[in-house]
């Protein structure tokens, strides 16, 4: 008998849906509630569910710690880099209109907001996963009385 068959099957069905919902929140943030921070937390929660059900080692194979280190810094760099790019194009720091100055529908603003939200998304996902990996990888040593 395989233990916890129900949990594993349901989790397998649920994790892609959670990831899909995270991307919905990320890219629909201009029209409904949500944005980079919320989407990052939801995606991290999906990966945490994977780690809870299939073990933290399997999760580390799927999302290696090196990705986490890189992704966490990449998000901040993307955010800052957007600002620097607008700087280079001749505007102020984080002045997104410089991306498409002639646009009548504020396309530059849309591109800027997209890049910035993506940066927040990366950083938040990776930071949440880093905290979970750091705490979850440790094993306590307890006697029964302490429990």
């Amino acid at each position: 008998m395989s233990p916890h068959l129900v949990l594993r099957v349901v989790a397998k069905m649920l994790i892609p849906l959670i990831a899909l919902f995270a991307f919905y929140v990320q890219f629909h943030g201009d029209f409904g509630p949500g944005g980079g921070f919320q989407a990052g937390v939801i995606l991290a929660a999906g990966i945490i569910l994977y780690a809870l059900v299939f073990g933290i080692d399997a999760a580390k194979k799927a999302v290696p710690p090196s990705w986490i280190r890189i992704g966490m810094s990449f998000g901040v760099l993307l955010y800052g880099g957007t600002g620097v790019a607008t700087w280079m194009l001749g505007g102020n720091f984080l002045d997104y209109t410089q991306f498409a100055p002639e646009s009548t529908h504020a396309a530059g603003q849309h591109w800027g907001i997209f890049a910035v939200e993506l940066g927040v998304f990366c950083t938040v996902t990776c930071a949440m996963l880093a905290i979970f990996y750091a705490f979850g990888s440790r094993t306590p040593e307890l006697s029964d009385e302490d429990w």
């Binding site: 233990p3 949990l7 989790a11 780690a51 059900v53 094993t139 307890l142 429990w147």
Partner: protein
């Protein structure tokens, strides 16, 4: 007719609130920890329903997004809690967890409890 539907939804929301309060009482008083887990799970479902009905009452359907989020995420906390109490670790896989019997707190001393095998 709109007024009838408004009253209906408002009444449903108030009754959901009452149901939330009742479940909360069980959560606060629950004798065993499994009662608490059950109450939290049930509270989550009731809150999802409350959010759905309430967004119809106020006429803004953004609350339904939050209800979807809770429907997806309420599960994670329950799994974490049960793993915590059954295997006393969050890092092992459920796939190769052998069936062991940790004891519930009875007050009397019991033997050592095997944890799930670490992979």
């Amino acid at each position: 007719m709109a007024h009838f539907l408004y009253t209906l939804n408002l009444g449903a929301a108030i009754f959901m609130l009452v149901a939330m309060a009742l479940v909360l009482a069980r959560l606060l008083s629950g004798p065993t920890l499994y009662d608490r887990v059950l109450a939290v799970n049930s509270f989550g479902t009731t809150t999802i329903l409350f959010l759905c009905v309430f967004s119809f009452v106020i006429g803004r359907t953004d609350g339904i997004d939050i209800a979807i989020l809770y429907a997806l995420m309420n599960f994670i906390a329950t799994i974490a809690v049960l793993k915590f109490f059954r295997y006393r670790a969050l890092d092992m896989s459920l796939e190769d967890a052998h069936i062991d019997k940790p004891t519930i707190k009875t007050g009397k001393k019991t033997g050592p409890v095997k944890r799930g095998r670490r992979t």
